[in-house]
């Protein structure tokens, strides 16, 4: 939460600074501002940063690292869509972009057993876990236009707070069961279960992005490429070993932070039309 408050203070200072400068240079500051309303959508590639690993199995005769989770980050496409509220003044734009964010993450684990006297008698199982998170996020951003032309590249920073709406996991079990008389592999039907209890509601992070906007006339088309850096542990530590439907296969949720790259296309419309020929000022 303290990161979020820091971000709000930072944005407030930025706004004040912009107004101070404006009062020196312009007689009518109203003419140099603009409000925008619009929407955006796009895709993302998410990853997990595990900070502390946890295990449901405690091995008696092999290293725990053998059953560690192997994260396959930024490999699964997710998506996001939402609304844009922006305020522009003198090259700076402050934006609030509430939206639904769908993140897909992946990790896998492997475990095996082998008979001591007959090593051909073995069982090896691989579990692939694909988790989909649905968050309602409230990003607050500030961006600076590097040019003031119709095509305006910009850079931006921000922070976001998200609320977990749903989390579901699809588990694909596969392996080789030589103990049952076959060296051939097996591939079970994937199962999907709800894992919302394994994660807390809140997601807090900071973000940085680059992008460009283009004004073909009374509309701005924006394209953002950014990175969201989750700051808090999203695993529910109270439920790690309680109400865990995956405890049976040795699963215990790692302490982790959620990260993602995103690309969003947006369409925003100016709300003030104040010039003689009814073109918007922006």
């Amino acid at each position: 939460m303290r990161y979020f408050l820091t971000l709000i203070l930072l944005l407030a200072c930025t706004s004040l600074w912009a107004q101070r400068k404006k009062s020196r240079g312009y007689q009518d500051p109203f003419l140099k501002t603009q409000w925008y309303l619009g929407f955006y959508g796009g895709g993302n590639l998410a990853g997990i940063n595990p900070t502390t690993a946890y295990f449901g199995y405690a091995p008696l005769n092999y290293p725990q690292t053998e059953i560690a989770k192997r994260y396959n980050n930024y490999a699964n496409i997710g998506g996001q869509y939402g609304l844009v509220f922006m305020f522009y003044t003198e090259g700076f734009t402050i934006g609030l972009k509430p939206g639904i964010n769908i993140y897909n993450t992946e990790y896998s684990t492997t475990i095996s057993w082998q008979e001591t006297a007959n090593t051909a008698n073995s069982l090896k199982i691989n579990y692939q876990h694909n988790t989909q998170f649905n968050y309602l996020e409230f990003p607050l951003t500030v961006q600076y236009d590097l040019l003031r032309e119709r095509l305006r590249p910009y850079i931006g920073l921000g922070g976001y707070y998200g609320v977990l709406l749903n989390a579901a996991r699809t588990i694909q079990r596969s392996g080789v069961d030589a103990a049952s008389g076959s060296a051939g592999g097996f591939n079970n039907q994937p199962q999907t279960i709800g894992v919302q209890d394994e994660y807390i509601k809140s997601l807090v992070g900071v973000m940085g992005f680059i992008g460009a906007s283009y004004d073909p006339g009374n509309i701005r088309i924006t394209l953002d490429l950014g990175y969201k850096f989750g700051l808090n542990n999203i695993a529910n530590t109270a439920n790690r070993f309680v109400n865990n439907p995956l405890a049976a296969i040795g699963e215990a949720t790692d302490d982790q932070q959620l990260r993602n790259f995103y690309l969003s296309l947006g369409f925003v419309f100016p709300l003030k039309f104040i010039s003689k020929n009814y073109n918007s000022v922006n």
Partner: protein, 394 residues
């Protein structure tokens, strides 16, 4: 402006949600669940008992079963306070067939097992770090069935197959028998068979128990006069009283004395399970376990192990497992016997109840058997916090 009147509520709601970040710090030692796995295909583990050590870790007593062996091997696991393995020791043959429960006397933990060569009972010391000491022979007593602790003495129930007797003994930790009495189980192989099946793990495990009342009367739950009975003894030639079961198909599954003739029991009768947290059993007469009544609990699996303990002097906690193989805990008010709470643990795998122990932080550690991938029997340990116990027993 009215349309913005909800904004403060939305901000408060978001702030409320955000509180879960600050609260999301649960000590890993408070609550955990562990399954102790072995990557050897042939190893099959069956848990017996758990106790907490002075470093807040745990000592787990288990047995390992092999296809070709008559008796099970003894296995001791020492964990840290988070349930992670510190040491694990499979005791060398001929030590076999450990019987619960852990006893702690003068800072040392003890369990009893069998010398598979001589069939004599052995007392095995284990220290806080899980190091297993040299076994001490227990006065030539054969086939130990169960043991418990009474202050600094051990009370052992054993089977004398030469004389077909259930033998109750009190012992010191150096193996000296201080008191002993043997009671005939009856003649014939029919009455001996359930005991042999129990010992070789080829049949149902019977709820042997042994203990002492608040007076000087001892009791054992075992075979006497052809039936599985709760037998009261002053170490004389005949018992002072008997609460008879129904051959090996009915009797007491768990018992603790609450003072005098007041008992809390679990009992079984031809597959049905009854819990009776407040009952009276005469110490000096012959009664029947079916007269004890109690509420039937159809969800408990027939033959399931039941453990019963007193919690904070006010509540009784029963631990067992359901027909769907979940661990279940029932809390009862000691005074009037009303149920105050129920809790279930374990999902995904089948879980068979083995034992529990109360922990120093006010929580509980529950030991169970599970089966990984449906085929590898393994030991599982659940740890739950004081908050959990207070919610269960209040």
């Amino acid at each position: 402006m009215k349309k913005f009147s909800n904004i403060p509520y939305i901000i408060l709601l978001l702030a409320g949600w955000a509180c879960d970040i600050g609260n999301n710090i649960v000590e890993p030692a408070n609550t955990f669940a562990k399954i102790y796995d072995d990557n050897r295909f042939e190893q099959e583990y069956y848990p017996l008992d758990v106790t907490q050590t002075t470093d807040d870790g745990f000592l787990i007593l288990a047995e390992v079963k092999f296809d070709q062996a008559l008796f099970t091997s003894v296995y001791v696991i020492k964990t840290d306070d988070r349930g992670e393995v510190v040491t694990s020791t499979q005791l060398p043959a001929p030590l076999a067939n450990a019987v619960g429960h852990w006893s702690k006397i003068a800072g040392t933990y003890y369990f009893v097992c069998l010398d598979a060569n001589t069939l004599a009972s052995q007392l095995v010391p284990v220290d806080d770090t899980g190091n297993v000491g040299s076994p001490v022979p227990l006065g030539g007593l054969t086939y130990p069935l169960t043991v418990t602790q009474n202050d600094n003495e051990l009370i052992l129930l054993s089977f004398d197959n030469a004389n077909n007797e259930s033998v109750i003994s009190t012992l010191t930790t150096d193996g000296q028998i201080t008191r002993q009495a043997g009671y005939s189980i009856g003649a014939g192989v029919d009455v001996e068979k359930p005991i042999i099946d129990h010992l070789t793990r080829n049949g149902p495990k019977l709820p042997f128990a042994v203990g002492k009342t608040s007076g000087d009367t001892y009791y054992f739950n075992g075979f006497y006069n052809y039936t599985f009975s709760l037998v009261f003894s002053n170490f004389n030639a005949t018992p002072t009283g008997v609460c008879q079961g129904q051959l090996s198909e009915g009797g007491i599954s768990s018992v603790i004395n609450l003072g005098g003739e007041d008992f809390a029991v679990g009992r079984f009768n031809f597959g049905a399970n009854y819990l009776n947290p407040v009952t009276r059993i005469p110490l000096n007469s012959i009664t029947s376990s079916t007269d004890l009544g109690g509420n039937t609990f159809p969800e408990i699996e027939p033959g399931a192990k039941v453990k019963l303990s007193l919690w904070n002097d006010n509540f009784l906690l029963y631990g067992t497992h359901t027909q769907s193989r979940q661990i279940v805990l029932y809390g009862f008010n000691r005074t009037d016997g009303t149920i105050v709470g129920t809790a279930y643990l374990g999902s995904g795998n089948p879980y068979t109840f083995a034992a529990y122990t109360f922990t120093r932080d006010g929580g509980i550690a529950i030991l169970a058997e599970t089966a990984i991938e449906g085929r590898f029997p393994r030991v599982a340990l659940f740890k739950r916090s004081a908050l959990y116990m207070n919610a269960l027993l209040h």
